[in-house]
């Protein structure tokens, strides 16, 4: 029997996330290249869209189910997955590099005596074994890394591997009831940031820097973000100044992001900021100083005043969207 790759798919409130389908697609691709058998593993209670996994190249799903596992529990999820992976002797485990993935992957790795490669942006199998590419120094450099271990745990960066929708094949869902999960560590409450997208998961980000001249002008950033369905990001300078929360910071001591579109407003482009966002597919810079470093990596720039350009841009986007 072929070795297995287990794609551990993340759900929130009983719904599989977009990154889950990216993980399923990536695992299914690696499985076909390395002649492995791909299986999806979902931990939680009721999962409304579990059958959608079939659209992303995996037809076998194992649902590790318990009402107490509806929310994340590092100990409970770890034990459920380790037990299953041991039972089926899975060689590869893949997760998305989300908050949950980052927390859980190393725990699985220790218990399974596996090497662990985080935040991979490229997976290459052309040599017959897996070599992963991952950013280091917040993206200032990349390393190609291979495993020296039999068991392997991999997390993939969200938004990089596309969720490839294939013709919906049927899925075979096996429900394994998890008896008395280990709830030594558990989430007791989730405080949602109302209506806000997170920069780490967003496909479009509008970021503001010191050129916004004060917290009170970030409504211009928020309005543009709303018109684009984008998340709001911030430079370190404005976070340190207390204009925006830490969670929005993009850059080397904030989040490293790779959205389809990154709009930098009033951001000059310190090396730490550029490291965190330069792998975005398209970058737009709006900044008064035409010599600002941000323009050296921007695809399109307007060397003008954010207070003039942003309202006009928001209006134009709204017009186009209503189209």
């Amino acid at each position: 029997m072929a070795n297995k790759i287990l794609a551990v798919l993340e759900q929130r409130d009983g719904v599989l996330k977009r990154s889950a389908f990216e993980t399923a697609s990536a695992a299914s691709k690696i499985a076909s290249e390395l002649n492995l058998e791909a299986e999806a593993v979902v931990v939680g209670n009721d999962i409304s869209n579990i059958n959608d996994i079939g659209n992303y190249g995996i037809s076998k799903v194992v649902h590790l189910k318990n009402a107490d596992l509806v929310n994340y529990s590092s100990s409970g999820y770890r034990d459920a997955i380790v037990n299953y992976a041991t039972e089926v002797d899975g060689d590869y485990i893949m997760l998305a590099n989300t908050s949950l993935g980052k927390d859980l992957a190393p725990r699985l790795a220790v218990k399974l005596e596996a090497g662990c490669l985080m935040d991979c942006v490229k997976l290459d199998t052309s040599s017959g074994e897996l070599t992963a590419t991952r950013p280091v120094y917040a993206g200032k450099a990349l390393v190609d890394v291979k495993f020296n271990s039999g068991k392997k745990v991999i997390t993939i960066r969200p938004n990089v591997f596309k969720a490839q929708s294939t013709d919906g094949s049927s899925v075979d869902v096996t429900v394994n009831e998890v008896s008395s999960p280990n709830l030594k560590s558990r989430v007791v409450e989730f405080k949602k940031s109302e209506g806000k997208l997170d920069v780490a998961e967003a496909d479009i980000i509008v970021s503001g820097g010191r050129g916004m001249k004060g917290a009170e002008h970030f409504n211009l950033i928020e309005e543009l973000a709303d018109s684009l369905g984008a998340a709001v990001g911030a430079s370190r300078a404005v976070v340190d100044a207390g204009w925006r929360p830490h969670g929005e910071q993009v850059g080397q001591t904030g989040k490293t992001v790779s959205p389809s579109l990154y709009v930098a407003c009033g951001i000059s482009g310190a090396i730490q900021h550029l490291a965190g966002m330069s792998s975005s597919k398209y970058i737009v810079a709006i900044n008064k100083d035409k010599d600002a470093p941000i323009f050296t990596i921007a695809d399109f720039g307007i060397a003008g005043d954010v207070f003039d350009v942003l309202p006009a841009l928001t209006e134009e986007i709204k017009k186009v969207k209503q189209g």
Partner: protein, 250 residues
Amino acid sequence: MKIAVCVSHVPDTATKVKIGEDGKTIDPNGVTYVINPYDEIAVEEALKAKEKFGGDSEVIVLTVGSDKAKETIRKALAMGVDRGVLLKDDNHRDSFGIAKALAEEIKTLGCELVFCGKQSVDYDNSITGQLVAEMLDYSCISVVVNLTIEDNKLTAEREIEGGKEIVESELPAVVTTQKGLNEPRYASLKGIMSAKKKTIDEKPAADSDNLTEVVKMHLPPPKQAGRIIGTDSSAVPELVKLLREEAKVL
């Protein structure tokens, strides 16, 4: 209560990365090394925990690396940590190797509460704290922005996508620290002076095989500077057109 804080000696975030001669690591020439920014937050939280527990509580700073890493230990000592341990290894270790050395020493020291930065700004793996916890069979809460410890129980807020999770766990535990948890104190002159008299134990890091291996380090493809299409809002329609038709992102 014995409290451990694990720190990493890393290139300053202002470093412009050049690839070293081995093709696998960065060229250290001209690079300034500092305490990992997230680890300063860990040190601060460890000192706060010591103040809270009082009595004969003690904070011990640990790092794995070469002699040069002593500089980062001294920084933690200057902030107020009681003593340091350098787990020596001049060779590159992956996160597993580092965690193994830390876990072995924490076990020897008998620390029941451990703080680590949520990630180091060099290799960005963000896993060392969790690895140490699992190796010790401790609880672990990662990416913490708010923490209370009452008796044996930890309640923490972790930052996750779209909000904050409140997590409950119990000691012994590892906590990994995120920006926002506290404002690290500056080392006072007195602190810097007294750090010179504090002990740094040196011992070989516990043996460990690397489970992963860097084959090659390379720079990202240079990004071509694009077009500046205007200097005021009159360029906006052109910008939107490019985003729709050329970039196809709208």
